[in-house]
């Protein structure tokens, strides 16, 4: 377990909001200008801190959506009962300031130098965000590592980065499954990620793939257990869960 540890103190700094982009009806990407950014790895996250005029503060962590070398961006899903996400997805606009610190986390990262081992990315809902950073990093770095992204969304309009994912780089396959609503004529997969779909979509363990699974807890539990059952060594299945990211 060689640590790619974050060294030195992570200090809060004030970033400027450069642009906001609506990805879906409830998901927004926020691009930031960060004055002192040491650079990040694909898959890391950052902390956001909001301060009300009476001094009340709220902090949350968000996955970084952009690739290493690109302007720092986060993609935030609005949670109905959330405290921070409704502010970030509704109120925040270009020119506003946002306190952040990061990057954070050194385990759920794709360093980009994995040789030829194929990459399996498994996303549930907004779990696609750190995986999108990995896809962009692969593209930007000219990597030819074969990649499959298995992406579970409620419906087609809930697919984040849809236009970008529909134009995959050479060597990247995007496999959607829609769990609640499928449009007329839908030829992709329907229903939740299960053992059958994983057996069909995942690389054979014989190809020594590395898997990154991100999504809500029950999704990650099912997908990670399914990959282990297919023969993936547990050490090659990295997971990130966001169950209960904000309280109900």
């Amino acid at each position: 377990m060689a640590g790619t540890a974050v060294r030195g103190r992570l200090t809060w700094q004030v970033a400027a909001v450069d642009a906001v982009t609506d990805e879906t009806a409830s998901v927004r990407t926020i691009q930031l200008s960060v004055p002192d950014w040491a650079g990040h790895q694909a898959g890391q996250h950052l902390d956001v801190r909001l301060t009300a005029d009476d001094g009340y503060r709220a902090e949350r962590s968000y996955s970084i959506a952009s690739a290493p070398g690109e302007p720092v961006a986060i993609t935030v899903e609005r949670l109905t009962d959330g405290e921070v996400s409704p502010y970030l997805t509704r109120e925040l606009r270009p020119g506003d300031e946002l306190e952040i610190r990061g990057p954070i986390g050194g385990y759920f990262v794709w360093p980009g130098n994995d040789g030829t081992a194929p990459l399996l990315l498994v996303a549930g809902g907004s779990g696609v965000v750190p995986l999108r950073s990995m896809l962009r990093h692969r593209r930007n770095s000219g990597s030819t590592v074969p990649v499959r992204l298995l992406y579970s969304a409620r419906s087609l309009p809930d697919v984040i980065y849809h236009a970008e994912l529909d134009q995959p780089s050479r060597g990247v396959e995007i496999i959607y499954t829609l769990t609640r609503i499928q449009p007329p004529g839908w030829t992709g997969h329907a229903g939740r990620v299960d053992a059958t779909l994983l057996a069909e979509a995942a690389w054979s363990p014989a190809e020594a793939p590395v898997a990154y699974v991100c999504g809500p807890t029950p999704f990650v539990e099912t997908a990670a257990a399914g990959l282990v059952a297919l023969g993936y060594p547990a050490q090659r299945v990295k997971t990130e869960r966001f169950g209960g990211a904000e309280p109900s």
Binding site: T51, E83, D96, Y107
Partner: protein, 202 residues
């Protein structure tokens, strides 16, 4: 001095009385979120054991029936996850680490908890003794579910919850401190939620 976030008012204020129990930067949740770096391990109880290791060898081991036959405490504690949720009044059935360490002769100052799946976390002996730490095997009156660390996890509620290692299989007694899994990835070596020790050097 933090800039005021234009238009942010903050919806959540903790109920009177509870606020003092929520460390800085945390919020209370009624959920029990799950965080783990990999797949959930499932070790059959017949193969399970808990070990105190010293100088590279097992100084003492307990099988599942042996561990669960030890005197146990009903523990009610507030827990605080570094990802910012806190959960008040969680209820556990657990064997005190004092009970386990009492059966081993040692002078160690640190322990490294080790787990199924390869996870480790480091703690000072002073923080796992004196009624501050347990090996927990029931949550809320039920066997501890695998996704929450069952069959057994460490419970060290006064530190951030990553120190309460899931799927724990033992403690290695050490003379010198040795960083565990998240501690090597930039998280704080000690992890006191009241001092907001989230990341290295906080």
């Amino acid at each position: 001095m933090s800039p005021v976030s234009r238009g942010f008012h903050g919806r959540r204020r903790e109920p009177e009385g509870d606020a003092a129990r929520i460390p800085p930067g945390q919020y209370a949740t009624a959920d029990f979120p799950v965080l783990s770096a990999g797949p959930t391990p499932h070790t059959p109880l017949g193969e399970w054991s808990f070990a105190i290791r010293q100088s590279g060898a097992d100084a003492k081991t307990w099988s599942w029936p042996q561990l669960t036959a030890l005197p146990a405490d009903d523990v009610t504690a507030d827990i605080h996850c570094v990802t910012r949720w806190s959960k008040l009044d969680t209820r556990w059935r657990a064997v005190s680490v004092d009970t386990l360490l009492a059966q081993v002769d040692h002078q160690a100052r640190f322990v490294l908890a080790f787990c199924d799946g390869g996870y480790t976390t480091n703690l000072p002996v002073a923080d796992v003794t004196g009624g501050q730490a347990w090996v927990a095997y029931e949550y809320d009156g039920q066997p501890l579910p695998p996704e929450h660390g069952g069959p057994a996890r460490l419970l060290v509620p006064h530190l951030y919850f990553w120190k309460s290692a899931k799927w724990v299989r033992g403690l290695e007694l050490l003379a010198a401190d040795e960083p565990g899994f998240w501690e090597q990835y930039g998280y704080h070596n000690y992890g006191d939620p009241w001092r907001e020790q989230r990341y290295a050097d906080d």
